[in-house]
C-alpha cells in the first residue's frame, strides 16, 4: 500500500508496484491530461511534478510514489485562474496537434519555479520534451512570455 497526494488529494494504491505512475494517473485517477508518448522517458509527454520537480511519469514505478506530492496538468491552475505558463501558451497560441503540450507546460512550470527568468540556453538545457509538430519557435516564445507574466504577478 502506498499513500501519496495527487493535486492535493490523498490517494492510496495497492496494485502492481511496477506500474508506472503515468498509467495510474490516466487509468486509475482518470487524469488524462498526462500523455503517453514513448514509455522510456525520452519525449516528456507524460511530465508531472513529483515533489515539485519535473519527472517523466512513464518511468516512475508506483513503488516509489509513497509519500510523494504529485501535481498533474489538471492541478497546475489555481481553480479557474490558469497558471502563467498556460496563459502564455494561449496568448502565443503555441499548440498544433496539442498532444505534447501538457508535458511541455509542466516542464516549463518546473523550470520557472527554479529559474524565474531563463535565457535561451537555460531553456535548451531544461526543455527536452519532443514536439513532433515542431512548435518550438512558439514554445520558446511562450516560455519567455510565461516568465514575464509570472514576474508581473
Amino acid at each position: 500500500m502506498v499513500q501519496f497526494k495527487v493535486n492535493g488529494n490523498e490517494m492510496r494504491y495497492d496494485g502492481d508496484p511496477d506500474m508506472p505512475l503515468l498509467w495510474y494517473l490516466r487509468e486509475d485517477a482518470g487524469l488524462k491530461g498526462t500523455k503517453f508518448g514513448c514509455g522510456i522517458a525520452q519525449c516528456g509527454a507524460c511530465t508531472v511534478h513529483f515533489n515539485g520537480k519535473a519527472v517523466r511519469s512513464c518511468v516512475v514505478p508506483m513503488a516509489v510514489v509513497d509519500g510523494a506530492e504529485i501535481t498533474t496538468i489538471e492541478g497546475l491552475a489555481a481553480g479557474d485562474d490558469l497558471d502563467p505558463v498556460q496563459k502564455a501558451w494561449i496568448e502565443i497560441d503555441a499548440p498544433q496537434c496539442g498532444y505534447c503540450q501538457t508535458g511541455q507546460i509542466m516542464a516549463t512550470a518546473a523550470l520557472l519555479a527554479s529559474n524565474p527568468d531563463p535565457n535561451d540556453k537555460d531553456i535548451d538545457r531544461a526543455l527536452t520534451n519532443i514536439c513532433r509538430c515542431g512548435a518550438y519557435y512558439r514554445i520558446r516564445k511562450a516560455i519567455h512570455r510565461a516568465a514575464e507574466i509570472k514576474r508581473e504577478g
Binding site: W23, K35, Q86, P95, R132, G134, A135
Partner: protein, 750 residues
Amino acid sequence: MAVLMKLQADRRRFLKFTLVGGALMIAETPLGYARSLKNSGNGFLGDIGPYLRIEPDNTVILGAPAPEIGTGMHTSLPMLIAEEIGADFDTVAVRQMPIKLKRAPDGRYSWAYGVQGGGGSFTLRRNWSPVRRLAAVTRTVLMKAASEALDAPVTQLRAENNFVIDEASGRRISFSDIAALASASPFPEIADEDDIPLKEPSGFTLIGQWRRSKGVEDVVTGRAVFGIDAEMPGMLHAVIARCPYFDGDVLSVDDSEAREVAGVKHIVKLDKPAHPGQPYLAAGVAVVATKFWAAEKARRLLNIEWSKGRGAGESSEQIMAVLEERQQQPGFNLVKDGDGAEALARATAIHEAVYELPILTHATMEPMNCIAHWKGESIVLKAPCHNAGSVVGAVARVTGLDMDAIHLESTRTGGSFGRRLYADWAAEAAILSKQLNAPVKLVWTREDDMASDIYRPPSRHRLRAGLDSDGAISAWSHSAAVATRDEESVDQVDRMQNTIWADNFPRRLVEHFEIDAHHETWMTLNGPWRAPMPAQQAFVVESFINELAEKTGADPLEFRLKLLGEPRDLPYEHWGGPTYNTGRWAGVLKKAAAAAGWGRKVKRRHGRGIAGYFTFGSYCALVVDVEVSKNRDIRVTRVVAAADAGRVVNPNGFRAQLEGGIMDGLSTALRLKIDIEDGRAVQSNFHNYQVMRIADAPPVIETHMIEGGDNVHGTGEIGLPPVAPALCAALYQATGKRIRKLPVGDQLKA
C-alpha cells in the same frame, strides 16, 4: 422533442432546414453538396455536406467534416462560417461530425454526411466554397424570415454578430429568435440557392485576420480528448506483440508467464491476413486485459518464435545497392521531352550527381490507438482519425460488415503526417472486438509504432544535366529508383507516385527533359509521409540546381530566376495542378531572399542556402542560415520563409504550419532515418530516432506571406520540402562539403 420540418419540396433546394429541440439545424443535402463541390471546381464528389446549428443561446455550431489533426481546420472552417453568416467568431463552436457511409440503391457507397477524408493539404480548399455557401444560404433564409418578423425589406437588413439588424430603425432580432419562428410558420422560400452570391473577398472582415486556435484552452489544461483518452463502457485494453519482420509470422507462442499477470483476460493469436494489400496487418499475439499496464506487462512476458518471411536478409544498405544496380540499366520512361542524349552530346559542360533519401517513420506524438465495439450486425469505433474513409474501408474488409454498418467517431488527433491515412490499427481493434465480443481499446506503444509503420520509401536519384555556353540548362536527365512493397499495384507510374511524378521540376523549363524510373519490390511497408513526393524531389532537384549554379558561376537565386523565366502558367498534371505559375514561384524566392539579406557576405564557418518548391498548389522558398563549429557541430541560426498559398484564411495558422513544417524538415534532414536489417526496423524509440528538441531548433523563423492567387490551400506540407536543399546549400557554404545523402548525420565530421 425533435420537430422535423420539411420546409420545402423544391427540387432546387439543396439545404435542409430542420428544428432539433430548440436548435435550427441546416444541413446540406446530397445534391447540394455535390453541386457546390462541382462549383468549387475540384475533385472528390461527396454526398452531404457539413451542417450548421443555430442554438437557442444564439451561438452557432459547425459540424466539421474534417478532424483537428494539428493543422487548424477547427479554426479556419468556423472562420468561413462566421464571415459568411454574419456571426461573432467566438460564438461559433466546432463539433466533429459523425462519420458514416451509406449504400446507394446501385450498391455503391458514398459519404452519408459529406467527404470526410484528409490529406494532400486539400481539406481547406475542398471546403472553401461549400462551407461558405452553407452559411450564405443560411444567412439569406434568416434574413428573409427576419424581414417578415421586423416588417422591413431585406435590402434594409444586414447580419452581424449573430443578429439581423434593420438599418433604418435600428431594431434587431437574434439568429436564435429567428430560428424559433420556424416552429410557427414555414421558412421563406429561396428561388435558386445557386444565385445567392458569396461575399466578395474585398468585403471580408474576418477571413485574412489573425485568429487564435479554437480549443487551445482545452489543450493547455489537459481537457482536450484525444483518441487515447476516449473510453467506452466496459472496455478492455489490448496491446499486440506484432511480428517485427515485415513479412514474418508467428511460429510458436509460450504465454504461460503472461497469463499469470493479474488482470489479463485473453491472449489471442492474430494470423497474417490472407489478402495482400490494405489493410497491411502483421501476424502477432494480442494480450487483452482490464488495464493497459497489465496487458503491456504480460506482453513483455510472452515468448514468441517468429519466422522472417520473404523479407529475411533485406536491409536498407542492400536495397540501396540494388537500386544503384538497377540504375545501370534503362528503366521505364516516365517522361521524355526532346532528345536528351543528343542534347547532352552537344552540351558545353555536363554535371552529374547522385542523391539518396532514407526510410522515414511518421512517429506521430499520439501513438496509434482505436476503440472498437462489435455489436453483432454493426460496429462502433472511436479513434483519432485523419482519413475516415480508410478506417471504414479497412474495418469493413476485416469484419465482413457492410460499410454502412460501421459507425465511427473521430476525436482530436495527435498528429498524422500521413500515418493515419492508413487504418491498420482500426482493423486490429475491430478484429479483437469481434473475436472477443467486447469493447476493446487497442493502444500501440512507441516501439510498435516504429517497428510496424508504413514508412516513407527509400529512393536513389542520379541526375545529369547539360549546360550550354550561356550557362543555361539544355538537357536534364533524372534516373529515379525506389523500393516499395506495393503488392497490390502493378502500374509502374502508380508505384512511383510517392517518389516522383512526370511533371517533376524543372520539366517544361528545359527543352530536353527525361525521367527514367526504376522500381524494386521489397517487404518494407511504404506509404505517404508529409509532402510525400515534394519532400523528396525538392531535396534532389533543388540541391542539383544549387550545384549547377555553382558550376556555371551563377548566384543560386539568379540561376533559379533565369530558369523560371517570364511569369506564366505551365501545365502540372498532378496534385496541386493543373498548372503552376513561374512568376509566383519566382515571387517567393525573391521575397525570402530580400528578407534574409541574400547576397550579403556571411562569416567564416557560417553558411546561407536557398531553395524553393511548388507543393500541392502552393509555393514556398526558404533561406536557411547555419553556423558550423570547429568540431563540425551544426547550429541552424535562422530560417526565413516566404510562401504563396493563395488567399490566406488565418495568418496565425498559416505561420504556425510553416514554422512546424520547417522544424520537421530540419529535424528530418539533420538526423532521421530508419535502417532495415534482416527484414525489420533497427530504430525503435526516440532514443535512436532522434526527433529534434528545442535546443536544436532555430531561435528565429521568419514567415512572409504572399497572397498571389484567389484559391485557398492548406499549408501543412509546403514548408518542409525546401528545407533540406537550403540547409545542405548552407552547410556547403560553411564547410565546402556537399551533402547528397540524407540525413546529414555525422557526414561533416567524416
